[in-house]
Structure formats: structure tokens, C-alpha cells
Amino acid sequence: MTAIRATNLSKHYGRTVAVADLSFDVEPGHVTGFLGPNGAGKSTTMRMILGLDRPTGGSVLVDGRPYEELRHPLRKVGALLDAKAVHGGRSARDHLLAIAQSNAIPAARVTEVLELVGLAAVAGRRVGGFSLGMAQRLGIAAALLGDPEILLFDEPVNGLDPDGILWIRTLMRDLAAEGRAVFVSSHLMSEMAQTADHLVVIGKGRLIADTSVREFIGRSSQGHVRVRSPRLAEVAELVKVGELHADHLRVTAMSPLEIGTLTARAGIPLEELTYVRPSLEAAYMELTKDSLEYTS
């Protein structure tokens, strides 16, 4: 069963369109990256999935039902929206206990998730004193409380140190490997490239791409070959399809082997012959450049 299905989902705030006619599926067993520039409507979409914001049009179903109709929703869906959205006066344990009780999750599970995210030692400390990294872990503990099949993370690596980022990436991959649906938003393509299998890309609230990461890379950007030589002009003449720059030649239609063979035959020495991989970031920028809310 499709974990999350959005159908023609729309959200308007007065005249401002936050999300427009958005349709996509999130499948179990994968990390689905939800990608878009800041202000593209990612958080609004996540809030609509979770029944927090009401769609202006369309619908979104979780495990085939609207979120509001789930009896113990946390046992089906776990979400981390904003790690800092906790009452600072409460201890980590009490914070999780209150959430667990509301969905009839046994208190022993609180201890389990605290250990899982590495917060067991500070369980009794007030959350207000937590660093962002610790708050993020607490938020993830809350998301995992109900052992849910579907997980949503909104920009989970924002503000984390490299250790924390690596930990979250591994966790998300592991959760997906266990057969859960993981839906994670980010405005960084490079981040998604390392964790996601599938991508839902939006800009200005509209769907730009719904594709596997591999397809996305292949389709949106080609690699090129960078050639440098003391006799660059001759190389350019020989290759014909190259694009001549001040100190190098950029070739997209030929492989390094083809170019190398040509120049070897002509006896032209080469200083550099490099295959430059397609940059995901560049592909993503290319794709979303028309839909940036704020450009510098």
C-alpha cells in the first residue's frame, strides 16, 4: 500500500499560493527526498499530510486514510517537524512520556527510544537546556515512539554538526531498509543525493520532478570532458564539438577515450583530460531556477 498519496493538493493563504495541484506518492522501503528551495511549500505540504493544516483543495491520504481518521496515529506515522517546538521546562523523559501516553504506547518504549537516539543519560534533564543536536535527537525519539511504518522528517540535518548529519543519514537509510516509508525534506540537493532513492522536487508549490535519484541525475545534467593542452587551439579544431574557453576545452559529445585517441594520432600533447561528473547541485539549480521565491 502506498504510504502517502497526495492528489491535487493545494493550499492558499489569501492570494498567496503555497502549494498548487501537487500530486505524488511515497512508497514503503525507500527514502523519498522532498526537495525544493526555501519557501517552496515543503513544510506546508508536510503539515497537510499530518492534518495540521487543512488543504484548500485536493487531498492527502496516509496509508489510505486521512490522517485525522487514524486511531493511534503515532503508531502509524512518526514525524519530526521542528525540533525546537518543545516546552523547555519539561524533562526529555516527561516530554516523550506525555506523547506516548496519548497513543497508548507503553512507558517502557520511552526508555527504549531514549537509548536508541543516545539521550538516555540526559533523560531527566530539562529540554530547554538541550543543544540543537540534542533537540533533534529528541524529536527523532518522539517520531520513533510508536514504531511507525511511515516517517516524515522536515529538514532534519539543519544546524547539525557532521557527526549528527551522518547519524541521521544512516538512521534514515536503516529505517527504509526495514521496509518503512521515509519522507524527508531538504533544500540541499547534495544532502538528498546521499540519502534518498527517490525524489519529489517542488518549486513555488508546484511539482517539478517526481523521479528516482539516478534518473534525475542522468536526465537533468550531462557530464563533460575537460581538456587542457599547450596546443589547445589545434585540439579544438580536431575535436570540432568542443567549447573553447581561455585555458581549457569543454567537450560534452565525446568520451575522454575518443578525444585522447584523436589527439594521440595527431601527436598533440595533453596537459589534462578529465571527465567531470554531472553536478547534482547544478542540475537542481537548473531545474529550480525559474521557481525560486527569493533570489539574491
Partner: protein
Amino acid sequence: MIDILRSEWTKIRSVRSTVWTLAVTVVLMLGLAALMATAARNNAAVPLTFAQTIQMSLAGGLFASVAMATLGVLVISSEYRTGGIRTSLMAVPDRLRLLTAKVVVFSAIALVVSVAASAGAVGVGLAIITPPSSEVGEIVRAVLGSGLYLAACGLFGLGLGTLVRHTPGAIVSAMALMLVLPPLANQLPGEWGRVVADHFTTNAGTLVVFGTENSSLGPWSGFGVYLGWIAVTLAAGAVLLRRRDA
């Protein structure tokens, strides 16, 4: 529903502001009872009557009502301030059930503490003043009346907190409706002015505590009118809670 009640109980008991606000309520009630009773006993030319003793004993009620209303506001507004309301609504998407659980748990706590504080205050007052006569029935009515009134003030705060969502805004609204506007309503001219004044929030609500000398309402009908105000506020809050994006 029992799960949600348990969860709300954990939320309320696990923050210091609850414990502090309740402690302040009790201390104010007992302290002012002792202070007022001692002052009244030392200054009075003639021995104080039973009715006056009760009145002196419950002098802290005004401040205690502010403390309770503040706590009521915080029960929900603190979730809006921190963003925790989203976590709560993800766990309990049925918003009316969430609000109901908050109302039930908070009412129970508020009632227990308010009745205990009122009983303590009346006890302190009676012990200090030792009026010539006392009626058990009247003592019970005053204690229960004061306890119910204070708990109701807390619920009024909870309703306003749900409606306004913003802590300072909700507290200011509560103060205006409970303390500032009622005396102003008393200044309204004419027959209708008097009806409005008698039915205005705490003007009606305090009748159950301090009796009904100048009012057209009885102690319990007055309290009923106050509950009416609270019910309307809570209902309006519930409608908006359901309708608004969290």
C-alpha cells in the same frame, strides 16, 4: 479518552509553572486570610460576626483567581508559544478530544487545589477571629463556593487561552473580563445597566462566595451565569481550534 487524559496529566504535572502557580494560589489564600483576620480582629471595636469572618478569610480570592486564570491560560497557550501544539495534534488529531482532555484534567486539578486552599483559608480565619457563632452549613457553602469559583476562573483562562492562543494577550483579556470590566459595568445607568452589571462575569460569579446582598441573582444562579460566560468562551475557542491551521 483515558490515554489522552493521562497524557494531559503528565503534561501539566511536569512543568514547574503549574506547581508554582498552584503553590502561589494556596499561599495567597492562607496568607491573606491570616493577615486580614488578624488586622480585623485587632482593629474592630465590636467582635466580628460570622459572616464578616468568612469574608475576611476569603480575602485572598481575588489574587487566587488571577493565579488560577493565568494557569488556565498557560495550559494551552504555552503549547502555542513553543509549537508543542503541533506535537499534541499529531498525537491526537481529533481537536475536540484534545481540548476536552485539557478541560477535564485542568478542572480536576484546579478544583482540588481551590477547595483545599479555600478550606484552609476559612479555617485560618475562624481560628484567628473566633466569631461568637458559626454555622457548619454556611462554612461548607463558602468553602465549596470559593473553590468552585476559583476553579471556574481557571477554566475561563483556559477558554480565553484557546481563543487567543497568545499568552500575554489571553492573560490581559482574562484580567479585563474578570477584574476591570465588572466594576465598570456597575457604573452603567438605568434598569438595563443594572441587569448587565449583575450578569457580568465575576459580578455574577462571586455571588456564590460572598452572598447576594445587592444583586438580582442568587448565589448559585449567579455562579450559573458565570459558567455560562465560560461555556461560551470555551465553545468559541473549540470552534476556532477546529477551524484554524495549527
